[in-house]
Amino acid sequence: MKFTLRWLSICCLLALAGCSSLGVKPWERDLLARDDMLMNADALDLAYDEHIYFSKEASSGGQGFAGGGCGCN
C-alpha cells in the first residue's frame, strides 16, 4: 500500500508539472490515431501473454487488472 501511494504521488506530481507542456493539436493526431499506435494494439496477443506468464510466474497484471486465477499447473 505504501508502495502504491508513493508512486501515485510521484506520478501525480510529474503529470501536473509536465503534462501541460506536452501534447499535440487536434489536427496533429494523424499518426496517433492509427490502430497500430494504440496502447492496446494486438489485444489478443496481450491476452495470450497474460495467460502464459500468469501460469508460469508469480506476477500478473500491470497493463490491466492482475486478477486471481487458480494457477495450478
Binding site: S20, G23, D35, M39, L46, Q63
Partner: protein
C-alpha cells in the same frame, strides 16, 4: 486451470489508456479478431491449444460493445513440487485413486494433468460526455475444478485538450475451487489423503489508476498503478513438498503445501510507444511488482515493428522477467526440523528469471482483413543447485529449466 483473468487484463487494458485506444469503426459492422495459440513445453510437460474469437461493434456515438469467447485444452505433465531422488518415487494422483512412479533422478511430474476451459466476457464502453468515458465488463470462466466470475469498471477523464487521459477502475473477482479428489488438509502426508470434499473459495479486488500522455505527434506514454487484494484459498491443492532425510537427503515423505490465505500486490507499469519517420513502431514497457508474500519482480518488454511496404510488417520482440522467491518457498523440508506454518515448493514461487524471444509477421490484406503469425521461445531458469542442498540432493537438478515454444495465428476481419 489458471488463466481466467487474462482476458480481463486484455480487455481492460483498453480502458487503461485514452480515447486514443478506441479504434475507428463503422456502424452496423462487426470487427472480429480470431486467433489460435499453441503453447508447448519441452520434456512432455504442459501443452495448450487455445482458440479465441472476439467481436466488437459500434452502436453509434462511439458506444462500443465487445464480446469474447475463449476455449482452451491443456494436457501434459506438471511438476508436483517434490525433489528428484536417486531412487524411484511413487506418488498418489490428485484423485487419490491411482499412483504414478517417477524414475530415479527425474523431476517428479504429475502426468495426470488435463483440463479444458471455456471463458466468456463482455464489455460495454460508452462516452458519458465530451471528456468522460465509462467501460463496464463482465466475465465468466469455467473449468472442471475452477469457476471464476468477474465484474469490472473503468472510467476515463480527458484533460489538457485530450492530450492527457486519467483512468481509474476496479475489478471484483469471485472464484470457486473444486480440486480433484478434494482440497487437501494443509501440511498433511500425501499418503493419508486427508481431504475436504467441499468447494473452496477466494475473492480478489483490484484497483487501477493510470495516466496516458501524448508527448508529441508520434509518441505517447502510459503509467499505471495497481493494487490487488486477494483473500481465501490461495494454496495449490496439487502441489507437494518433499521432507528429506537430514543426512542422506533422500525423500522420506511428501506433504501437501500451504500458502497464506491473503495476498496484497502492488505494481507500477509504464509503456512508451513511438512511430519513427519510416512508420516503424517502437514499443517499450517496464513493470515492477511487489507483494506481501515477499515476491518482487521486474519485467522489461521491447518490440520493434518494421514496416515492409504498405501491407506487411515484421516485429521482433524480447521480454526479460526476474523475480525473487516468496518468503515461504522451500526446495524441500528437512526431517526433524520444525514444520513451517506456510510452505510451498512450487517453482513459480521460487527465485528465477525468464526470457522470451519472438518474431511476428503480419499482413493487412485490404484494410478489412488482416492476418499475422507469431513465433516465440520462452526459457525460465532458476538455481538448480542451491546452497541448502546436501546429500543426494547435490546430484539433482532442483530447479529444472522450463522451455516452451509458442505459435500463434491471428485473423481479423470486418463484416
Amino acid at each position: 486451470m489458471q488463466l481466467s483473468k487474462k482476458r480481463i487484463a486484455g480487455l481492460l487494458s483498453a480502458a487503461t489508456c485514452s480515447l486514443l485506444c478506441t479504434p475507428a469503426q463503422a456502424r452496423d459492422e462487426w470487427n472480429v479478431d480470431s486467433a489460435v495459440l499453441y503453447y508447448g513445453e519441452s520434456d512432455g510437460r504442459i501443452k495448450l491449444v487455445e482458440p479465441v474469437i472476439a467481436a466488437r461493434k459500434d452502436l453509434g456515438d462511439d458506444e462500443i460493445v465487445s464480446l469474447k469467447l475463449v476455449f482452451d485444452a491443456l494436457t501434459g505433465a506438471s511438476a508436483n513440487g517434490a525433489v528428484p531422488s536417486t531412487m524411484p518415487q511413487t506418488f498418489t494422483s490428485p484423485s487419490g485413486k491411482s499412483t504414478y512412479t517417477v524414475a530415479a533422478n527425474d523431476t517428479p511430474l504429475d502426468p495426470s494433468f488435463h483440463d479444458t476451459r471455456v471463458a466468456y466476457s463482455m464489455n460495454w464502453d460508452k462516452p458519458t460526455d465530451r471528456t468522460h468515458r465509462r467501460n463496464l465488463g463482465f466475465n465468466l470462466s469455467h473449468e472442471y475444478d475452477f469457476t471464476s466470475l468477474g465484474f469490472n469498471g473503468m472510467w476515463q477523464i480527458d484533460s489538457n485538450q485530450k492530450n492527457t487521459t486519467w483512468s481509474y477502475g476496479a475489478n471484483l473477482e469471485l472464484d470457486a475451487i473444486n480440486p480433484v479428489g478434494g482440497a487437501p488438509e494443509p501440511l498433511t502426508d500425501m499418503l493419508a489423503q486427508d481431504k475436504n470434499s467441499g468447494a473452496e473459495s477466494r475473492n480478489i479486488v483490484d484497483l487501477l489508476f493510470g495516466v496516458t500522455q501524448i508527448i508529441d505527434r508520434s509518441s505517447l506514454f502510459q503509467v499505471n498503478l495497481s493494487l490487488s487484494q486477494a483473500n481465501g484459498y490461495m494454496t495449490d491443492p496439487y502441489k507437494l513438498v518433499s521432507v528429506v532425510d537430514s543426512s542422506s537427503g533422500q525423500p522420506l515423505r511428501y506433504l501437501f503445501e500451504n500458502r497464506p490465505d491473503s495476498r496484497m500486490r502492488s505494481s507500477i507499469f509504464a509503456q512508451y510507444r513511438k512511430m519513427m519517420p519510416s512508420k516503424d513502431i517502437l514499443t517499450a514497457s517496464y513493470r515492477y511488482m511487489t507483494d506481501d508474500w515477499g515476491v518482487k519482480s521486474n519485467t522489461f518488454d521491447l518490440s520493434y515493428r518494421f514496416r515492409l511496404g504498405e501491407r506487411y510488417y515484421l516485429q521482433p520482440n524480447v521480454r526479460y522477467y526476474q523475480q525473487s522467491a516468496a518468503d515461504f518457498y522451500r526446495y524441500f523440508l528437512v526431517d526433524g526440523e520444525p514444520l513451517p506454518a506456510e510452505v510451498s515448493a512450487d517453482y513459480r514461487l521460487g527465485e528465477m528469471d525468464a526470457t522470451t524471444v519472438g518474431i511476428k509477421f503480419g499482413e493487412d490484406i485490404d484494410g478489412r482483413h488482416q492476418w499475422s503469425l507469431r513465433l516465440e521461445q520462452y526459457l525460465q531458469s532458476g538455481d538448480s543447485s542451491p546452497p541448502e542442498a546436501f546429500g543426494q540432493l547435490t546430484q539433482q537438478d532442483l530447479y529444472p529449466d522450463v522451455t516452451a515454444t509458442i505459435v500463434q495465428f491471428n485473423y481479423s476481419f470486418v463484416f
